[in-house]
Symmetry: C2
Subunit: 256 residues, 2 copies
DNA sequence: CCGTACGATGTACAGTGTACAACGTACGGA
DNA sequence: TCCGTACGTTGTACACTGTACATCGTACGG
């Protein structure tokens, strides 16, 4: 199943996200709650990855039959929306006022990076249409303050935030995929590389790709691996901040 | 199934990528070729998305039984590697020598953007471990030349390219997910928004999220949609180039 | 005290990747 | 020339997914 938010009926999903649900008047007492189901799903995803969150598995962890979940959640698509909006809502939002803008933007990036470290699956969910819940709204409201007072118009303000968040998510996705590749293949990066190396040495002609051979070897040696998530993130964040700096102070030289 | 490259046996996958396969001495003539299978899979993915590439569907499009595919390809994981390395190999690689570095980097970004426009599925494949085939190698070798002569050491050179490619892939992913959300839900972005709007107006309090309400409205009005892929790409690419500029010329003010 | 709203669940279905065994073909060696 | 065998092809089967549907039992409103 494709993991994507906002794939269900829009109004029904919104009602759930904003917890606009009234208790039933008649009939047996519900044995679970929406929050309980969502919390269990998040725990399961944190521990074993989003692929482990199947309706059967989740039901088992809650001690009910699989179909019981459909009493609380219309389907898996809506469950994903709820999971994502919930972890958004839980993010700490430290006050950013008074800090220089680079520190403010760095704080936003760091908070998102930590979100994705705690919940790697969150980086891999497709948010072509974001879950319009209270968590998402609070997150957006807070993160916009990092770009306040820089002279950006509202359109650029939104674009700048999208740019920063896109970078952090891409870095987190790369890291999550890198880690998942190791987990699922049962081979560490080293083992994988070692089992590919002998054959690659036979078919790969360094003379045909001289720069690739040199740079690839240097990067691999520097990081002890083909890919180093922390280095990619820190290098990238510096570039992102420098790139925004040109937007923030667009006229460095003025005729006096 | 999780879509990920390099999920199969490393040596066997490499042998396939480098087409190190000898024709069988005895037995019936093969009715298909590896290249034919891969080309059909790419066509199918281009036309109907990666989700449409199932072994049964692909076999049907080739006029064979599903299990016949396993004669040519060890499994779906290896098929994905082959698909990706093949579209990499097909990318045009215009000579970049003589251009200013911003134009060179822009050309690399544009070439990747066009790859992802032609093959949107390629942006969504997880490349935690890249397919180490001839296409990938040629691509890497060529793209590194965009950063040559800028005074970067090899480690920064690799990091800079990774940064640019990461940005383009993230933008393409966002665009592909955005488009897929529209396709699969059967609702255009406008229809989705309109069906969410009435309810959202009831629960969303603009006074509680004043900046979000203002900026969101401005961005939505400017683009005629909640998300505008082209704008995000062009805005982002400018920031990426400016961010690299600080790395390329690190000492703008020198004591004379 | 009963009708009914509603939670819980067992079964079933269409779909996935692919393991396995059976079958048929066409060539190398005798 | 002819057979053994390497190898392409395929039908069946299995474990797994999300979830539609019908059924059953519960507990409250009138």
């Amino acid at each position: 199943m494709t993991e994507r938010t906002s794939a269900g009926d829009p109004e029904r999903t919104l009602r759930l996200l904003w917890r606009d649900t009234r208790a039933p008047a008649r009939g047996p007492r519900p044995g679970l709650t929406v929050d309980g189901v969502v919390a269990a799903a998040i725990e399961l995803a944190d521990a074993e990855g989003l692929a482990a969150v199947t309706m059967r598995r989740l039901a088992r962890s809650l001690g009910v039959a699989p179909m019981s979940l459909y009493t609380y959640v219309p389907g898996k698509a809506e469950l994903l929306d709820l999971m994502l909006d919930t972890v958004y809502a839980r993010m700490p939002r430290a006050d950013l006022t008074g800090l220089p803008w680079r520190d403010r933007v760095t704080a936003v990036a760091t908070a998102n990076r930590e979100l994705f470290r705690r919940h790697p699956w969150a980086a891999t969910v497709s948010t072509g249409r974001p879950p319009l819940g209270p968590g998402q709204m609070a997150k957006y409201e807070h993160e916009l303050t990092a770009f306040a007072g820089l002279g950006l118009d509202d359109v650029d303000l939104d674009a700048a935030l999208t740019f920063v968040l896109g970078f952090v998510q891409a870095a987190a996705r790369a890291e999550a995929e890198f880690a998942a590749a190791g987990r699922d293949s049962g081979l560490t990066d080293e083992q994988w590389w070692e089992s590919a190396q002998p054959y690659l040495a036979r078919v790969f002609d360094p003379a045909a790709y001289p720069t690739a051979a040199r740079v690839g070897a240097a990067a691999g040696a520097a990081h002890g691996a083909a890919y180093h998530p922390d280095h990619a993130y820190e290098f990238g964040l510096r570039r992102v901040l420098d790139g925004l700096a040109a937007l923030v102070s667009p006229a460095p030289r003025r005729v006096p």
